[in-house]
């Protein structure tokens, strides 16, 4: 949930309570004011009536004045000075009882005592409530509307640096070995966040580089002992007195040493690609590269009875390190042959800004997203190193080429898009 929506929800919840309380207070206040006013008006009228009645003779005239608002009856008993009371009188026009407030007071006229009652209609409670509610609703709506507008503005203006920062972070890639710089702005919190993230990434970058260099150095260090093992084995096998069992042992050890050495070589290449150590870039004709590599694989293709379909009419030139370009193509072709049927088909196509290498083959056993992972093998028993596609992936990442893989109708298809030509290595 967005922060704004969340804060808005809290705002709304709190404001609802406030408005509810406000409504009750409004109601009480209104009612109080109206009551006071009513009483005040009644008393005013009493003064007036008292004055009028003291001057006139004909109380009767007033007696008939208005049944609803005034009644004057003669009274024998002694009355209290003032009685304020609420009553309801049936209104024959509206056909309902209407609440009235009445003020009862005694008036003496010509020695006779009268009980005077003057009344005013009370504004009905539900009318007040309706008024208050209407007011509240209008206020509440206005409040929500202004809140929304303000928040929208705020999120656009105040939060903009934050979203910019997010964009920068989203685009940031650790393995590109670039320092992260975030824009500063007028908001202290965001600036603190920016410095914090920058410090963190610098540290991570540093650790990352050390790690990569360690892998590379380790691989280098492993080369020498491996060279010794291999050469010693080679000297050993020249001995004429070896038994078959001994040769078996040597053969096993040699094979393992070779495998180790290949593995090490592949890891070293991978580390060096990731450490951006292939600086020399030249113009390479992809078509020539493919043709040359395919020559190397000629026998293999023939042996597996693979039909090779080439569509190389479109000429494509890329700027790239030659060594990496060769590895890229060799790995892709090697894979296309290795995971092919026999007899099978390989299609190599150069299109505008991309190459497509597709081959017949069984459905991959691994999940698609794992296919380019290290040491992921199609067949766990195979002697393959499981580093071919990761190397392809690493090269594509360095040059920002797009690498896509699909499996459709028994065909594996790898596409490399070279559209990002401005790669820096």
């Amino acid at each position: 949930m967005k922060l704004l929506i969340k804060t808005n929800r809290y705002f709304l919840a709190v404001s609802l309570i406030v408005f509810l309380l406000g409504g009750i207070l409004f109601y009480l206040l209104f009612k109080g004011i109206i009551d006071n006013h009513l009483t005040y008006k009644l008393r005013e009228r009493r003064n007036y009536l008292e004055k009028q009645l003291s001057r006139t003779d004909s109380v009767i005239f007033y007696q008939n004045y208005s049944a609803n608002t005034l009644s004057i009856v003669s009274s024998n008993s002694k009355l209290p000075l003032e009685i304020l009371s609420d009553t309801a009188i049936y209104d024959s026009v509206e056909r309902k009882f209407i609440p009235f407030r009445q003020l009862t007071f005694p008036v003496a006229n010509k020695g006779k005592l009268y009980k005077v009652q003057t009344r005013r209609a009370i504004i009905e409670q539900k009318e007040i409530v309706a008024g208050v509610v209407a007011l509240e609703v209008v206020l509440f709506l206005a409040f929500v509307a202004s809140l929304t507008i303000i928040n929208h503005r705020l999120s656009k203006r105040l939060w903009r640096p934050f979203y910019e920062m997010l964009d920068t972070l989203n685009e940031y890639k650790l393995d590109r070995h670039e320092a992260l710089t975030l824009k500063r702005n007028s908001i202290t919190e965001f600036n603190e966040l920016a410095s914090c993230i920058e410090r963190m990434t610098t540290k991570i970058n540093h650790e990352f580089t050390i790690q990569k260099e360690f892998i590379e150095n380790a691989s280098h260090e492993i080369q020498t002992p491996l060279a010794i093992i291999k050469t010693e084995m080679e000297v050993l096998i020249q001995s004429p007195v070896l038994s078959e069992r001994q040769m078996q042992s040597i053969s096993g050890a040699t094979a393992a040493a070779n495998r180790l050495s290949k593995l090490n070589e592949a890891l070293l290449i991978l580390a060096r690609i990731e450490n951006r150590q292939f600086h020399v870039v030249e113009d390479i004709c992809v078509n020539d590269l493919l043709i040359h590599s395919l020559e190397n694989f000629e026998e293999l293709i023939a042996m597996k009875s693979i039909k090779l379909v080439r569509c190389l009419q479109e000429r494509l030139y890329i700027k790239m390190n030659r060594y990496l370009a060769e590895i890229l193509v060799e790995n892709l072709l090697n894979n296309a042959i290795k995971h092919n049927h026999s007899p099978g088909v390989i299609m190599v196509a150069v299109e505008k800004n991309e190459i497509v290498i597709s081959n017949m083959g069984d459905r991959p056993r691994n999940r698609l997203d794992q296919l380019f992972g290290r040491f992921v093998k199609g067949n766990p028993q195979s002697e393959s190193l499981g580093l071919g596609l990761p190397i392809v992936k690493a090269i594509c990442e360095v040059y920002m080429y797009t690498l896509t893989y699909t499996y459709e109708d028994k065909f594996h298809r790898v596409t490399i898009g070279f559209s990002n030509k401005g790669a820096e290595v």
Binding site: A227, I237, Q248, M303, S382, S384
Partner: protein, 225 residues
């Protein structure tokens, strides 16, 4: 043929010397930069094999000094660094070849042979082994004066075998020699078998004796049985 091997890793040096000596070279050794430059200064060699990372200096400087004192000697650089820059720099300084560790001794031997052959002025550039005659420049092969038509791979294989005659060469070293570094060795072994049996058949058909021996599980040996 006098060969100087400059390598600080003594075990590696020892096995290289042992292999190359048995292949018919007279080997001298040096383990430091100083020792290497002294020997280069004092004696004449046909070929020098120099490691790049030496105690006391860089092998590249050694190559430089060597080219100044005895320009006719062949130079092979060996290095644990498979770096294109080093390779280019080494070759520019006049090195004839560049081998990355770990390498096969049979490969080193084949490279030395090839360099010596190329550097041999005036003399015959043929390689002969009993009734087999190989002319590397034109890729021609003769058995008892009749020409044998070989594919490029078969030719390279034969040359590699003859260079390492009498030695057991492993399948891996053959694969690397024929296909280079990046070919999946798993795939290559079947071809090696194919190529060897084709080569063998062609040689036999032209009246050669059978020189190819299978060494159980390890590889092959080319030589008189």
């Amino acid at each position: 043929m006098k060969v100087l091997i400059i390598e600080d890793e003594e075990t590696l040096l020892r096995s290289a010397v042992s292999y190359l000596t048995s292949a018919g070279y007279i080997c001298e050794e040096a383990t430091t930069f100083a020792e290497g430059s002294e020997k280069i200064f004092l004696y004449q060699y046909d070929c020098i094999i120099a490691d790049l990372g030496l105690p006391g200096g860089n092998g590249l400087d050694l190559v430089h000094a060597l080219k100044a004192s005895s320009p006719h000697a062949g130079v092979i650089i060996i290095s644990a660094r498979n770096s294109l820059e080093d390779k280019v720099q080494g070759l520019e300084l006049g090195a004839d070849d560049y081998l990355t560790k770990p390498f096969h001794l049979s490969e080193l031997n084949a490279r030395i042979k090839s360099i010596l052959r190329r550097r041999k002025f005036g003399g015959s550039k043929e390689v002969a082994f009993n009734e087999i005659k190989i002319i590397p420049d034109s890729f021609d092969v003769y058995v008892n004066q009749t020409q044998v038509v070989l594919t490029r791979k078969e030719f390279n294989l034969l040359l590699f075998f003859v260079a390492n005659r009498g030695k057991v060469v492993t399948k891996e070293s053959i694969a690397e020699h024929l296909w280079g570094d990046y070919t999946d060795s798993v795939n290559s072994y079947d071809f090696i078998y194919n190529h060897i049996s084709n080569l063998r058949k062609k040689l036999l058909d032209h009246g050669s004796r059978d020189y190819v021996q299978t060494v159980y599980g390890l590889g092959y040996k080319f030589g008189e049985i």
